[in-house]
């Protein structure tokens, strides 16, 4: 079962709706609340990253027996140095984003901490894809 949510770049009024819908869907399916909490954090951090750093993208929620997969896929412009981006506290977010309470360099580390498996692929000038799973 797949659910797809669009994330618009730089729109901080709608940012969070995809994660909100992800959470509602998992609740309706009766998924355990601890799993929902992790999935919500993963989806929301990913969604904020797409809204802040990319040219737009989407969040995909795949649910199959025993497994939830959350995929964050954007339209670019890609990450220069993934190792650096994964480091806690490292951020390329501008001042305005930090004033909103994000861009402290904790998004990707938070996602990795919540997920059972975490995989990120990106290259400068290309798209970024983050695939995260939770065993249920």
């Amino acid at each position: 079962m797949r659910f797809e949510y669009t994330v618009t770049t730089q729109n901080f009024t709608t940012a969070g709706e995809a994660s909100s819908n992800t959470k509602k869907t998992l609740k309706l399916l009766g998924i355990d609340s601890k799993i929902i909490r992790k999935a919500s954090i993963m989806a929301y951090e990913a969604e904020m990253n797409i809204a802040i750093h990319s040219e737009g993208g989407k969040i995909l929620l795949d649910i199959e027996p025993g497994l939830i997969t959350i995929t964050a896929l954007d339209q670019g412009p890609g990450i220069e140095n993934i190792d650096l981006a994964m480091k806690e506290g490292y951020s390329t977010a501008p001042h305005e984003i930090r004033e909103m309470g994000f861009g402290a360099g904790m998004g990707l580390p938070n996602m990795r901490r919540c997920a059972d498996t975490f995989d990120i692929t990106s290259n400068p000038g290309g798209k970024t894809c983050v695939v995260m799973t939770l065993t249920i």
């Binding site: 901080f12 009024t13 940012a15 969070g16 994660s19 909100s20 959470k23 609340s33 909490r37 919500s40 954090i41 929301y44 951090e45 904020m48 909103m100 309470g101 994000f102 402290a104 904790m106 998004g107 938070n110 901490r113």
Partner: protein, 115 residues
């Protein structure tokens, strides 16, 4: 600590209609960094004390099932932010106290930080 006591101690304005005066809160976390809120709060009985008043504060609370946000330094969010909180059943309070003072007052009366 019940919501009514938090309102009294911090002399709060209640900003929306989603509140239960006898709802109990056991911990508090003060931050303007939403990723820290997402990473470190593990308990729905935690009060979030913050100086941020945008939509993302409400979304952050929604993701981890927080039920109470206290805005410090007399800040009041825009109507659409209040509406979003109402839709999520999240109580919004505003106090004139600073984050440090608000945290200190609640600590003195028994609320504790996160584990």
């Amino acid at each position: 600590m019940e919501l009514r006591e938090i309102i009294e101690l911090l002399d709060c304005d209640i900003l929306n209609t989603s509140f239960e005066l006898n709802r109990n809160y056991e911990k508090a976390f003060g931050s303007d960094l939403m990723s820290d809120v997402l990473a470190f709060i593990h308990d729905e009985t935690t009060v979030l004390i913050t100086g941020l008043v945008n939509q993302q504060v409400i979304r952050t609370a929604e993701m981890i099932d927080l039920k109470l946000i206290v805005f410090v330094r007399g800040k009041v969010p825009a109507d659409e932010v209040v509406e979003l909180a109402d839709n999520q059943g999240i109580t919004l309070l505003s106090t004139k106290a600073s984050m440090f003072d608000a945290a200190g007052i609640l600590f003195e009366k028994g609320l504790r930080g996160i584990d």
